[in-house]
């Protein structure tokens, strides 16, 4: 069975020459929820931007490995198809909410796909319902709270129904209630999910598997609860010891 997402020997350097990713290889099966954890500067965001072809900006910088979505390699010629399959939730919702109203923003994806007006309106309504923001169509992004903005961004992705969701720090900056609501929404989605996060409680609750990145290299991968229980490993890579801090039931198998 072809994995939904497959990364083979992915390497990437910044324009200044500093290495960001070093020969990463992993796969994600359809429907799985996998976390990418690691200290700041580990390369989590950079990795996520490779999932829908935004990086590398210019192809052909030598053999830099390969990212495959449902078996098809991500490259310039496949950009349109890939972006329809993979939805990326960026870290700062203000970067992603660039339209004048909520309805317009959520409709952006479907409209780019060529959906007729009536259908895109329906998709917008359904997506907003999914994230618990029904009736927010005419609201203006500037008036929304952080949690609401994040949920509108998520609705904007759900509106064009990608098979794979890639999320960069989804719970960052959310208050406990907004965070709980977001976790609930993410748990209910059947699609493949790749989540980069510092929120280890979220990892323990949502993600079956975790990938530990440090300085661009994949240091460990396996069932998330096992990884989180390994105090030595966590400490060695600049992470707090969740085994000590998280409620016991989260890490129980």
């Amino acid at each position: 069975m072809t994995p939904a997402l497959s990364v083979e020997n992915l390497s990437f350097e910044f324009a200044s020459g500093a290495p960001a990713l070093r020969s990463l290889s992993f796969t994600v099966d359809a429907g799985e929820c996998v976390a990418v954890i690691g200290p700041n500067g580990a390369g989590k965001s950079t990795l996520l931007l490779h999932m829908n072809g935004i990086l590398p900006e210019r192809a052909g910088k030598g053999d830099n490995g390969c990212v495959r979505i449902h078996g098809r390699a991500v490259g310039a010629s496949e950009a349109g198809w890939v972006r329809r399959q993979v939805g990326v939730l960026f870290q700062d919702p203000d970067d992603q909410l660039f339209c004048a109203t909520v309805a317009e923003d959520v409709a952006y994806g479907p409209e780019q796909l060529g959906c007729p007006r009536a259908e895109s309106d329906q998709r917008v309504a359904r997506a907003l319902q999914r994230v618990g923001l029904a009736g927010f169509e005419h609201r203006v992004p500037q008036q929304l709270s952080g949690g609401e903005k994040k949920r509108v961004c998520l609705a904007g992705l759900l509106a064009y129904e990608p098979n794979i969701l890639v999320l960069d720090e989804p719970s960052a900056g959310l208050d406990p209630r907004a965070r709980r609501e977001l976790i609930g929404i993410l748990a209910s989605l059947p699609v493949t999910r790749l989540i980069a996060t510092h929120d280890l409680a979220l990892v323990a609750e949502l993600c079956s598997r975790a990938l530990l990145l440090d300085r661009g290299a994949l240091v460990a991968s396996g069932p998330s609860k096992e990884l989180l229980r390994d105090d030595g490993l966590m400490r060695a890579h600049g992470m707090e010891c969740p085994n000590r801090d998280l409620p016991g039931h989260l890490l129980a198998t």
Binding site: L49, N52, I54, A79, G80, R83, R84, G87, V88, F90, D92, D94, D95, Q96, L97, F98, C99, A100, T101, Y108, G109, Q112, L113, V140, P141, Q142, G156, L157, Y160
Partner: protein, 191 residues
């Protein structure tokens, strides 16, 4: 939302322009006819449920500039009359524009622009401008507060330096944000 707010932006814009053009066409001796529009404008403000005090305050904020500009007309024969005519015309026009601004949102404005086939790149720029200007303003305020928290003694030169540095940094952040927004657009644009 009053009926004025709900009216189409094109209609409001058209009526405003017609009034302003009419006022512009009035020769100096008949400029005081423009004052006849005042009761109608106040009625519109009432219908739009706009409170008079903030409206008046905003108008009073812009009026001195009109006075200054109108005074340029003083240095010619019948200068005082000419200056007064200019001031009265422009004062009424300012009120018309402020009523328009208070009852029309940028969203409606861009929709109207799009419907008259204004260039798409201009419309998109306006939408993004409206979307991000308050955000930039907030960022600028946060930077200023953070800097003020560590500033103990300022001179004029330092103020200018601080201003310049802040604006420079703000522009750098602007460009970074533009790149991230561009990525977000491409991520959902499929191209």
């Amino acid at each position: 939302m009053s009926s004025i707010h709900r009216a189409s932006a094109g209609l409001k814009l058209g009526v405003s322009l017609a009034l302003i053009v009419g006022l512009a066409a009035l020769p100096a001796e008949r400029a005081w006819w423009g004052l006849g529009a005042l009761p109608w404008l106040l009625l519109v403000a009432k219908l739009a449920r706009l409170s008079f005090k903030p409206l008046l305050r905003r108008w009073a904020f812009g009026a001195p500039f009109l006075l200054g500009a109108a005074s340029l007309a003083w240095f010619q024969p019948h200068g005082l009359a000419a200056a007064a005519a200019l001031f009265s015309k422009s004062a009424i026009c300012l009120l018309i524009l402020q009523l328009l601004a208070s009852t029309t949102s940028i969203v409606e404005l861009t929709r109207t622009l799009r419907s008259v086939h204004a260039p798409p790149v201009l419309c998109e720029t306006i939408v993004l401008l409206a979307r991000y200007s308050s955000l930039l303003g907030d960022e600028a305020r946060r930077m200023r507060r953070a800097r003020a928290g560590r500033t103990f003694h300022t001179s004029r030169i330092r103020e200018w330096q601080a201003l310049g540095n802040a604006l420079g940094l703000l522009f750098i952040r602007t460009v970074s944000r533009a790149e991230r927004v561009q990525n977000a657009m491409r991520a959902r644009g499929g191209a």
